[in-house]
């Protein structure tokens, strides 16, 4: 089964995207469905007996204060997925901008940006995130959390994109586009960026997953926003009310599994994309492939400004 799933890049992408789409759908309409159709509320106390296991009425049981866990899980998807999307978007955006610009522009500005990216890369992200989150103290709701997460997590992605851009900018087709009379900006967006698409996609996926996990982590230690219902706050409550010790697995497991599921789906998509964008799998071999003659000296050089 797993081997078959693993076999084709397209299958991985399909399964992964399906799961992600489902999650997004839950995030968008889930809370409404829970409220309107199932008549449950993620905040209503004593909706059922405390710490009741899964039943027909409470699909995932109840919390110690009798709140419906299923309603919480579905509602929590929204904040988690939104923080993930917004945080992931910010992080990816910054990664793309910094990666592209620092990779494409040689010269002083490029070098300075590269240095900046490298510095952000070695400064540990989670401590920085905790530090900033502790200063902002949960103000601004989930949007602020998403912003902070985005701002502290882009460096790794930027590095990947910078490396890609660096290798792309020296590729012949980039030069060819310039000889074809295209302007710098057009070259960048029509020739370089499309090649980064798989990398951007994977950065985005992991940034989303990373943001969801980071938000959960913040909530978990109480540095996030405990008022909202998210997977992180669910875990916070489950943990602080001793869900595991009381055997209330239905309360403790779903949020963690939710995060893991999103992560796994994103991972699948990413693996699939990697495979599909591998030219060895796509290209027909009908011409003579370049037989590179090694350059005489393997030293990097740049031009002398005349």
């Amino acid at each position: 089964m797993i081997r078959r799933l693993w076999a084709g890049g397209d299958r991985k992408v399909t399964v992964g995207l399906a799961v992600l789409a489902l999650m997004l759908l839950i995030a968008l309409v889930g809370p409404v469905v829970v409220g309107a159709w199932l008549g449950q509320s993620p905040t209503k106390l004593h909706a059922g007996p405390p710490l009741a296991g899964p039943s027909g009425e409470h699909w995932l049981g109840t919390t110690s204060s009798g709140v419906d866990v299923f309603a919480q899980f579905i509602t929590g998807t929204r904040v988690s997925v939104f923080v993930g999307l917004v945080g992931g978007t910010i992080s990816t955006f910054l990664a793309v901008v910094f990666g592209l610009v620092s990779g494409y522009h040689t010269g002083k500005a490029g070098a300075a940006l590269t240095g900046f990216v490298n510095i952000f890369l070695v400064i540990p992200g989670l401590p920085l995130l905790l530090l900033i989150a502790s200063y902002t103290r949960g103000r601004g709701g989930w949007a602020a959390v998403a912003l902070i997460i985005g701002l502290t997590s882009w460096a790794g992605g930027a590095r990947v994109k910078r490396a890609q851009t660096l290798s792309l900018r020296n590729r012949d087709f980039v030069a060819a586009a310039r000889y074809s009379g295209d302007k710098q900006s057009r070259v960048l967006f029509m020739e370089v960026v499309p090649h980064l698409a798989p990398v951007i996609a994977s950065t985005f996926l992991f940034a989303v997953v990373g943001s969801i996990a980071a938000e959960a982590g913040l909530d978990f230690i109480g540095a996030g926003n405990t008022n909202t219902v998210s997977w992180g706050t669910m875990l916070y409550w489950a943990q602080s009310q001793g869900a595991l010790q009381s055997g209330a697995w239905w309360w403790f497991l779903p949020p963690g599994l939710g995060i893991a599921l999103v992560g796994t789906a994103a991972g699948l998509v990413n693996f699939g994309i990697d495979e599909l964008s591998d030219p060895r799998r796509r290209t027909l071999r009908t011409g003579r492939r370049p037989k590179q003659r090694p350059k005489r000296r393997k030293v990097r050089r740049t031009e002398v400004a005349a």
Partner: protein, 326 residues
Amino acid sequence: MTLLEVRDLIVEYGTDPAVRAVDKVSFDVGRGEIFGVLGESGSGKTTLMTAITRLQRPPARIAGGTVTYRPSEGEPVELVGCTPRRLRELRWERVAVVFQSAMSSLNPVMRVGTQFADAIRAHRAVKRSEAWDRAAELLELVGIPRDRVRSYPHELSGGMRQRAAIALSLACQPDLVVMDEPTTAVDVVMQRQILDNLKELQATFGFSVLFVTHDLSLLVELADRIMVMYAGRAVEIASAEDIYRDPQHPYTQGLRDSFPSLHGPRRELRGIGGTPPDLRRLPTGCAFEPRCPQRVDDCRESLPLLIERDRTQAACLLLDRQEVAR
């Protein structure tokens, strides 16, 4: 005296659809002979080499045929059905290989000497220091200073690396050295030096060489006999002299006429025209038929087999006809 006997070898790539990259190829390599394999990109040369040495990787698989190695003493060994253990014993000891680019065939993070010693000690019970001494000797044989055994591959020039790779192939004095485009990565001057060196060594040690390239002029100079491949099949096997002076197959003729010569009188280059075939969609008849200037109607239907005529084998209906007619 045959050293290697290849019979009806079929190699397929188990992709979807399966690609038959080597199709019923048969030939013999004699003891002490330089046997050349010529063909354009994608004609199955590398596939043939890896199959003979059993180095093919999935999705490639040998779908039929035999490869028999006949040592000067002892029983012949059938390589295709051979156990991995027996195979490991034969490798390098009897059959060694040299790849296209030495940069990529030498481990970049290992000293050259270690890579020699590895090969020697896998087959001979010698001490490390002895193996290193032997490595230094081998390097000297190809004109590289002894002390270079301590170098890493990147510290050697392209030509030196290529020569080191050849020296490495001789580490256990094999009977057969298989070379897959060993000089494409160096420039002509270096190529010349390497080939001269190779010929010298071959004359000294008497091993056979199976030499793969797409460069006709080079092969004609170097090889004793040449096999020309087209779309996975052998289309002509003949002595180097015959291939150059009197090619039988229209494809070989076309190749010959595409090479500009440096010294002879300027002759007209004719070329072949058309494009090489797609192995996945081969015509039922002769694969060269669409590009062949001498094609006849039958070429589209019937697949020509190698026919022997005066020491020359060629696979073309035209020759078949002549044969029948005679």
